[in-house]
Amino acid sequence: MRTTTVSILSVMLVVTLAASPSSARTLDGTLKLGGIIRNQTGDRSAVQETFNVYDGFSVTELLLNGMMDPRDYVSLDLQEVNLDSRRGDFVFRRPGALKLTAGFDQHRQIFSPDGAINSKRKDWRVGAEVTPIRWVALTGSFDSQTRDGDRLPFPLGTVSSLGTQYDNALRSGEVAAQFDKDGRGAAVSYRASRYTDDLDQSTDRSGQVVSARLYSPSHFLGNWTHLLRAAYGVHRLSNRDLDYTLTNLQYTGVLQAARALQLRYRFEGNRVDDQATRLKTDRFENDADATYYYRYGQFSGGYGYETNDDDQTLTSYNTWRAGTIFRPGKYLDARVDYVSRVKKDQEDLTLLKDIDASQIRAKLQVRPRDELALGAGFSRREREFTTIGVDLKGDEFNAFGRYAYPGWGALSSDYSYSTDDYRDLTAGFHVRSHIVTARADFERLKNLRLGGGVTYLDIRRDLSIEKTLVFVEGTYTLQNDYHLEVRYNVYNYDDYLLLDRFYTANVLRLNVAYDLHLR
């Protein structure tokens, strides 16, 4: 499969180049070949970063960009081609006329400590966009996803009645036509999908969606703009006479009432007719927003009202939004926004009853010099299920700094501290997290680029998890177009409480890179 993937994508590139006049071809790119030496101990499912680190030879990268007269462009990008994973993308483009794309991605997930329980995921995609005349674009695409492998019982140690394996595939295709002329336009699309499960055919299903949108004129091009969308879809279980249909209509209008004042209204109507529940759920949403712009920023505010009616229960939502941005120049940017959303169970029939939720965010960024940026932020999320006695609260503080010195390199660092508190009638769950990331790049020395970084995560209170990722890397230019790349990673993970496990890995990546220039 690996050979097939690489071959198909490479043949596309070669054929495309061969089809062009030889007098006007250029091909630039990079080829990186190398290998990985990995030493690991502990639970292999603990650190996702190493799931696809293949211990052995690898085509680390093959990047080719070709240009042909009169204006065609072709690109092939293959990455991490090895026995476990591989990725590839192909693009052919004739600006204003044609675009062809293809891509492939295969990777794996590891579920058990020894890595024996794992699964493979493969994605294929192809697409085309044709522009026969300037104001018409026709597009088509096809995607295929396959997921097969072992299923891990959850929680660990139990026996799952869902079986020990899964093997399913989703294939979908879409065609669309878009018309844009003189600032106004429309688009229609049709999408079909099919899901199949080789181990349980009772789950096979298909779906079809037709949708359309209409705008006049395009946003930003008039003082009063309109956008209308509509969609209709059906999802059906293949082996049973059971489906659900979805219908949707949206309208958005924006009025530039004055140079400094913008008004916006949005309506959405939605119906889901589910034969399984025998319910028709109608949702209607109305939103209005106003934004006032002034020399140093803007003020905005809005209100939304929403109803959700499934024939048995009726809920309504009131949403309030407000925010401001203060930006007197590029050296200072400050912003605050607040939103609250209140759900009211009109008939007291839903399980969760009434809900109050809100979020406030504040952010400050200063840029005293072009090469230096400092910032800090705060956010608070609150959510209260008033009747059933559940409430959640989360705070987050973060700060960052970036410094770039041309000719020398760059430094950057981020820190965040977050608290998450959950409480219900019987118990609670509380977590405090510190996350630090930092990176340094040094490019002062001739032919040598150095870099390094760290990510540190510390989660406490009802959990006790520490995770550290460290890397150092260097690229040395041996001679024109030849480079030697070295990257060393350390992964460390300790869970002292929840699953009581650890993982440590040292990974050394060595690559020789060659820059291609063909004329």
């Binding site: 009645s161 899964y166 899901y195 395009s218 999802h235 939605n270 981020d414 118990a427």
Partner: protein, 319 residues
């Protein structure tokens, strides 16, 4: 009990459709929004801005060999000004740099050619437009080898502003964004899809990859369907960016409380009841309620295999 009046789709849509037609009709009679009055030039620009044609060659903005009214693109399509800039004094008569304009003004320049769904969505509650993030903040229109002329590859581009989200992707259980298997736009840019309306809480974004949960199920779990009146959708139980808990759960699924479930369900009978005593106290909920995303056989999401335990005998539980 008083029953509030219910709206039907027909009742609600008629006023909207009529209002829309009334609103659109005068707009359709407007003149050509793109009436070309400014000069179109490219070659003269390269006399001073040497090398720009080579820089742009690998992009969709590659300058055509011929220029004039029929040319596909010209420098002056984006850089507003007039011939005094190159004929008289370039400093006294500068051309505009769209990248230095605010979000609305630059978008207006880009919209003269690009009127796709990505731009249309700025009409709605697009957080970038609302926060005055202009097109050039993400797109490098002269030089980029990344898809969609992005300034740098995702997710690094997004982390530049959303540093707090980068921290969430450092958590033990997360989507493989940092591994380049997924991109931020795989989930967040679905606004661009014309079919986007068929979702409320993002569930149709999740089922793009997790197709096995898309349904329909003969027995739906209200927590998983995004049209639910119960605040449903995948994020009712999962943290999509990253979580400290297995399966990216947003609450622990550990004995004795299994808070993931008890945040909505108060089930004291499972812990102590006349028939079973405390037999089921502390037992994971999904040991019986196996098909929790939706079941093909049981309205309680029970497994058929439980029949062998005698749970469904007459007079006991309804399967």
């Amino acid at each position: 009990m008083h029953t509030p009046p219910r709206l039907s789709i027909r009742d609600a849509l008629w006023p909207v459709i009529v209002g829309l037609l009334l609103a659109v009709s005068p707009v359709l009679r407007h003149g050509d929004l793109f009436a070309q009055t400014k000069p179109r030039a490219s070659k003269v620009c390269l006399d001073c801005h040497t090398g720009q044609d080579s820089i742009m060659a690998a992009t969709d903005h590659r300058l055509p060999a011929a220029e004039g009214p029929a040319a596909r693109i010209a420098c002056t399509d984006c850089h507003a000004g007039d011939q005094r800039h190159w004929e008289e004094d370039p400093k006294q008569y500068p051309m505009t740099d769209p990248a230095k304009l605010n979000a609305g003004s630059e978008a207006r320049v880009c919209a003269s050619c690009h009127q796709n769904a990505h731009q249309q969505n700025a009409l709605e509650r697009n957080v970038h437009a609302a926060n005055d993030v202009n097109c050039s903040a993400c797109h490098s229109v002269h030089r980029s080898t990344h898809p969609a002329l992005l300034r740098q590859a995702e997710s690094g581009l997004c982390y530049g502003c959303h540093g707090d989200v980068a921290g969430q992707f450092a958590k033990p259980y997360r989507h493989p964004v940092n591994d380049q298997i997924l991109k931020c736009s795989d989930c967040h840019m679905t606004l661009d899809q014309t079919r986007r309306p068929l979702s409320r809480n993002g569930t149709n974004v999740c089922t793009k990859c997790h197709a096995e949960f898309e349904g329909p199920f003969p027995f739906e779990h209200q927590a998983t369907v995004d049209y639910s009146t119960e605040e449903g959708g995948c994020i009712s139980c999962h943290e999509p960016h990253g979580s400290s808990l297995p399966r990216m759960l947003n609450q622990p699924y550990e004995p004795p409380n299994f808070q993931l479930c008890t945040q909505c369900h108060s089930v004291p009978g499972h812990n102590l009841n006349p028939m079973h005593g405390t037999q089921w106290a502390g037992v994971p909920c999904n040991e019986c309620h196996t098909d929790i995303h939706g079941s093909y056989v049981s309205h309680l999401f029970l497994s058929e295999s439980l029949q062998s335990r005698g749970c469904f005998n007459a007079g006991c539980h309804q399967f």
